[in-house]
């Protein structure tokens, strides 16, 4: 196919940019490695968790993994939530695109659909204060949030979180929450004005989950198997979009291609050099424009290598992230409904300084713990494992996991650089250190958030720090500016010094609020694709 635009990567950014381009009549070539799960998907039955546990003889094959890879060998670490059926998502990236660091653990994906195969499906718009460093206003992004919401399917409630995350017009009814979350939400509502006065807000998050049937997806079946399979296809995965695009004559997907570099041609076109991962051979592809959505770290490699900027540091942002197991005492001894989902039940926001808007807020997501199985927790408990198993039988209906996110800004101590190596493509080195001010501010934010949940009857047991990189929200390497300098991007996401190379993933975010960035990545990719399509018309 003679493509107008090459899109690199099939994750949330690439899939939504490609969809926007095809919708506007452009011909798109997508280059991607495209790892897929060939082992586990057929093994997991479309049944509820409890029913599988009671009757499925071969459940160990996917719950533990064919090589027992689902049993954690260390404590909670980056990517701990990936179950054997999801491990392919990051599988070959460690081999094909390794990064090196003593302070940061990176999780990247070369899978078809990228990290979108394992995202939490949270739908969070950035507000005006969070976009203050960006040359794109909320009103410019709004139509693209709406377009993406229509494409991916969003469900959500109108509640106390609506002031932070307005629901799109196309929103479906929210997911039902489980018995434990219901009790916590009731406790919040009983004392809401006091909590709000202290800057705390609680509600049901918007989710990229179909709660109603739409075309070949959904509705969500409440099987509590969301960590293991997509049997009802209700949670949005970028590969659903790619599958739809592949039925279009204006889209071509070429894998398994690892993109190494690009070069702009004197005639105005762009050439992309790849390595065929299976054959080991080199290939070249050309088009009028290039959209890079290889993930923040993947895009950094491609850009720095293409521009020959070895040894040049670029900033790196990542939401600091902490887990806290909590016990909801109102659920001790209570029956929990079996019908439930495994995604975030509730979202809490702490806005310690309302005069700064959402900037500096802390966000927590509450998950109920069940379908990740008891054995994963045994070595985290200070009990003999026999006693731990018995204690978990008592605790399970009340056990929750809070994931607490903090915002992140660029400092000189958070960066990555591509180091030249003989005969290689360069290796990405990452250094990520929080300064004292950031550490103490995050610590205070976590204490406040845990205190809020304690007041709601959910007692935190301890805090677990899985290490830098664990949020898997990476951004900020080539920040977007109105007047960009070298290694920055303009308002169109175009890399300074290039004519037609646009970055569409998290690379361009100069600030990371304490919330999931995927929905905003998709909206921004849609926006840039829209601009490119109009200009190339």
């Amino acid at each position: 196919m003679n493509a107008d635009v090459i899109v690199v990567g099939s994750g949330p950014a690439g899939a939504n940019a490609a969809a926007a381009l095809v919708e506007r009549g452009r011909r798109v070539l997508m280059l991607d490695v495209g790892d897929a799960d060939s082992t586990y998907e057929p093994l997991v039955p479309a049944q509820p968790f409890a029913s599988i546990r009671r009757s499925h003889e071969s459940q160990h094959r996917y719950f533990l993994g064919e090589r027992f890879e689902g049993i954690p060998s260390t404590g909670v670490r980056v990517g701990a939530q990936l179950t054997p059926p999801r491990m392919y998502v990051t599988g070959s990236a460690a081999r094909l695109t390794p990064s090196h660091s003593t302070t940061f653990t990176a999780a990247e994906s070369l899978a078809l659909g990228g990290l979108g195969n394992a995202w939490g499906a949270g739908v969070f718009e950035f507000d005006a204060t969070e976009l203050a460093d960006w040359p794109v206003a909320v009103d410019e992004l709004r139509p693209h949030y709406d377009a993406v919401a229509s494409r991916i399917g969003v469900s959500g409630a109108t509640d106390d979180l609506s002031r932070f995350f307005p629901q799109p017009a196309s929103a479906m009814p929210p997911l039902e929450i489980d018995s434990s979350a219901e009790r916590i939400l009731r406790a919040y509502q009983a004392n809401k004005s006091s909590f709000n006065a202290d800057g705390f807000f609680l509600g049901r998050p918007g989710m990229a989950v179909s709660t109603e049937a739409r075309a070949d997806r959904g509705p969500h079946e409440y099987r509590d198997m969301d960590f293991w399979a997509d049997t009802d296809r209700s949670v949005y995965r970028p590969r659903w979009t790619i599958a739809k695009l592949r039925r279009s004559g204006a889209f071509e997907y070429v894998g398994p291609q690892l993109v190494l570099r690009f070069a702009e041609q004197p005639d105005g076109g762009v050439t992309v050099m790849t390595r065929d991962v299976d054959a080991g051979s080199s290939r070249q592809f050309s088009a009028r424009a290039l959209l890079l959505g290889a993930g923040t770290l993947g895009t950094a490699r491609i850009v720095l290598r293409s521009l020959g900027r070895f040894g040049r540091r670029v900033p790196l942002l990542c939401n600091p992230y902490t887990y806290a197991p909590v016990i909801n005492w109102r659920m001790l001894g209570a029956d929990a409904r079996d019908r439930r989902h495994s995604l975030a039940q509730l979202t809490a926001i702490h806005q310690p300084r309302p005069e700064r808007g959402s900037r500096g807020s802390v966000q927590a997501q509450l998950f109920s713990y069940r379908s990740l199985l008891n054995f994963r927790l045994l070595r985290e408990m200070p009990l003999a494992q026999r006693d731990g198993l018995r204690a978990l039988r008592v605790l399970l209906p009340a056990l929750g996991i809070l994931g607490i996110s903090h915002d992140d800004s660029a400092t000189g101590e958070k960066y990555c650089e591509l180091r030249a190596e003989d005969g290689g493509d360069g290796r990405l080195e990452i250094s990520y250190r929080l300064n004292e001010g950031e550490t103490s501010r995050n610590d205070a934010g976590e204490r406040a958030m845990l205190g809020f949940f304690r007041r709601l009857g959910a007692w935190p047991i301890r805090r677990v720090h899985p290490g830098h990189g664990s949020s898997i929200h990476y951004a900020g390497t080539f920040p977007m500016r109105r007047a960009p300098h070298e290694l920055e991007t303009d308002v169109d996401g175009r890399l300074a010094g290039t004519r037609a190379v646009h970055l569409i993933d998290g690379s361009t975010f100069p600030y990371l609020p304490a919330k999931g960035l995927t929905f905003t990545i998709m909206a921004n990719a849609n926006r840039i694709a829209d601009l490119v399509a109009r200009r190339r018309a």
């Binding site: 546990r53 459940q59 160990h60 719950f63 049993i71 001790l332 200070p382 731990g388 204690a391 008592v394």
Partner: protein, 136 residues
Amino acid sequence: MTTDGGARLRREARALTRYLLHVECPDDLVERYVEGCAARSLTGTDAVTAFADQHPGAIALLDAAGALSGRATGLRTRIQLMAAILETSPRFVAAFFPAPSSRPGAVLRLAAYGLASAGRAVIGFPLLVALERGTP
């Protein structure tokens, strides 16, 4: 893996199942444990594991002592593997699903498990230290 090694792992699977659930381990799960040990490079042994093999009654003490002190990782890794295998078999599902209880009953049971584990840890800790130093 040697024949002796295989026999030891099978013995270990049975002892760990008795320890965790007070039941006999079915043969297919014994074999799954042997496979799991091979897959996770747990076919070797150390002083703590060898002692537990000879004295299965000490597993509870060593496990509890390891839990509180962060030691005995080899033995605790094997116990976790066996627990994972048992949990993902439909035959033992009842032992892993929530146990009905009143709220006061739940609190009492949690306290009892905590105290029992702490008591075993107190007894087991000197034994664990001695084994790690090679002076059982």
